[in-house]
């Protein structure tokens, strides 16, 4: 796959997994994510891999648990309702310290909702959609190339922290076609036999157990504290974000993630030509969240307000408010149900926030 290709986000996510060494993929089709499975069903056999279409997303979650227990890189992709069905297994995998990658190409919810793009699964991904004291690492790409790069990173982080990682993209990330390049990768360093926990056959060694069941409360608390210690390390080392046109001329700072940030960039470029200076803060890692960085940006003297824009009725805005700690007013604008805010709407909202004429 040398050279630049034109690929749909979903296809590119599939190819990125192959680059990351994945040969085992389990999924159940759902719009707007199905092209990941459609792509991998012919592409995986070309590289000696296999795609198992499960009978449901509940089964997918448990197949992942099994495959990940053997130390193999594995992943699934789905869209909102499918990810909801997997939550039990995600909690189990987090409790059992299993490295696994989940991709959620978000559609409009709640319930069966619709098939158009949305970001309403932010809470589910970031705050933990399943039960118990656990977190998944969450990365949010805004382009096809970034989806590829973050997908490969997600596998590395899943291994590094032995924790589930989730890539979340609004439906647009999965459906847009953009040019993309794949890195040459060599996964030989990722041999499960060399790990000290994977279930690779107990011949000539002590058996290992991968589980999330701890009936003794002391042991269960110990496991939760072990998890908590991992999340603390993730917060120290895995903060990712991008600034766009942030300067001491900015009157307002927009916070947006995923493709919503690109729509805001168009609005920011156009506002700049009108003499209105606005910067963009785009969190890339949603967990861990760039807390200190947002706090610092909000503290800058020139910033009058923070405006959070999402394809939801307002979810990340709660984290923005939490991090800004009342230093500046935090406002929100969004659409949901598959309606995507337009650059013109963003511009109008910025003007309104700054008391400028429309």
């Amino acid at each position: 796959m040398a050279g630049k290709k034109l690929m749909k986000g979903n296809e590119a996510i599939g190819e990125a997994a192959i680059c990351a060494g994945v040969r085992h993929y389990f999924a159940y089709p759902i719009t707007p994510q199905s092209e990941v499975a459609e792509y991998l069903c012919w592409r995986l056999p070309e590289v000696g891999g296999a795609f198992v279409q499960a009978e449901s997303e509940v089964a997918v979650g448990n197949m992942l648990f099994g495959a990940a227990s053997t130390g193999l890189r594995t992943f699934t992709s789905s869209s909102s309702p499918g990810i909801s069905l997997m939550q039990e297994a995600i909690s189990y995998m987090a409790g059992a310290h299993l490295p696994v990658v989940l991709v959620n190409i978000i559609r409009g919810g709640p319930g069966l909702g619709g098939i158009l793009p949305a970001q309403g699964d932010y809470f589910q991904a970031v705050k933990g959609g399943g039960h118990g004291d656990y977190r998944v690492g969450v990365l949010a790409p805004s382009s096809v190339q970034e989806a590829v790069d973050l997908m490969i990173l997600a596998f590395d982080l899943a291994d590094k922290y032995r924790n589930p990682m989730m890539l979340i993209g609004d439906g647009m990330v999965g459906q847009i076609m953009e040019s993309v390049e794949f890195p040459e990768t060599n996964r030989e360093d990722n041999d499960p036999i060399k790990s000290d926990w994977a279930l690779t056959g107990a011949l000539n060694r002590k058996p290992r157990v991968v589980k999330s069941l701890f009936l003794n409360p002391d042991l269960l608390e110990e496991n939760c504290l072990l998890l908590e210690e991992k999340y603390k390390r993730m917060k120290e080392n895995e903060i990712r974000y991008e600034l766009y046109k942030v300067s001491d001329k900015n009157r307002l700072l927009i916070a947006a993630f995923g493709t919503m940030a690109r729509i805001c960039q168009t609005a920011i470029d156009e506002l700049e030509r009108e003499g209105v200076s606005v910067g963009l803060f785009r969190p890339i890692s949603l967990f861990p969240f760039p807390e200190k960085e947002i706090y610092a940006e909000a503290g800058k003297k020139n910033i009058e307000k923070i405006l959070t824009i999402e394809m939801s009725v307002g979810q990340m805005v709660e984290d923005i408010e939490r991090c800004v700690k009342g230093r500046k007013p935090v406002e929100f604008f969004g659409h949901t149900g598959g309606i995507v805010p337009t650059p013109n709407e963003v511009k109008d909202k910025v003007r309104e926030s700054l008391g400028l004429k429309k």
Partner: protein, 241 residues
């Protein structure tokens, strides 16, 4: 759209034209631009049919308003089904193929899966004087070389139960398309054309790129193309040159 003396524009005399190809080859842009081209070259009745039952976003139904403003009839699902990813085959499609006057363009879903819908219309189709064009984009995985292109052609013909009548070279990288990409696609299409005995009916070239190239390098007609399927962040950017 059709005012360059150095450009040889496509001549498509058949009444019914099906635009078919691999996933993401650019069928919708070709269909929408061909419909506009027919209008600009004096066809008073043009119908575009959205037969894409596999793609959830960026379908020709999204250009409905643009089409209707030009007097083009757009046959697309209505109401909630407009947004659905359900295999809805509108009853008026068969009627439009068989009975409508003027040019009829079918924007067919990608690959063998997407073409299955066309297969269910193959009898009605076979009774017409039709053109079935295979859209090739050398930057797409399933038509990246001659071998894969021919495999895709064969898979589609099987599922459509119809034979291709010609090729369209549509190699592009959207806004990053340069003459090298066009040339690469042209060479691929010529080779597939030679191997399959299918004429290269036209090469599509984005209008802004067309103004920068020597058109003499292509020994085939050229369809100038203006993007209709814009991403939300491209909303205010006109791609018309």
């Amino acid at each position: 759209m059709v005012n360059r003396p150095d450009v040889r524009y496509p001549v498509i005399s058949k009444r019914v034209v099906a635009i078919v190809g691999g996933f993401g080859s650019g069928k919708t842009e070709i269909s929408v631009n061909l419909a506009k081209y027919f209008v600009f070259t004096g066809h008073s009745r043009v119908t575009i049919i959205d037969l894409d039952l596999v793609n959830p976003y960026f379908r020709s139904r999204e250009a409905k308003a643009e089409m209707e403003a030009l007097g083009i009839r757009a046959v697309v699902p209505e109401g909630g089904n407009f947004y659905a990813d359900l295999p809805i085959l509108l009853p008026e499609i068969k009627g439009a193929i068989e009975k409508s006057e003027g040019k009829v363009i079918l924007d067919v879903g990608g690959d063998a899966q997407g073409t299955r819908a066309l297969g269910s219309l193959s009898e009605a189709f076979n009774r017409q004087d039709y053109e079935m064009l295979m859209v090739l984009n050398s930057r797409r995985p399933q038509t990246a070389d001659v071998g894969r292109s021919i495999q895709t052609i064969e898979r589609i013909e099987q599922s459509a139960r119809l034979r291709f009548t010609g090729l369209v070279s549509n190699s592009h990288m959207i806004e990053e398309t340069d003459p090298d990409v066009l040339n690469e696609g042209y060479e691929l299409s010529r080779e597939v054309s030679r191997k399959r005995g299918l004429p290269l009916v036209f090469i599509s070239v984005k209008s802004d790129v067309l103004s920068r190239i020597d058109t003499a390098i292509f020994d085939c007609p050229i369809l100038p193309l203006t993007r209709s399927m814009l991403k939300p962040w491209e909303q205010n950017k006109s791609t018309e040159s």
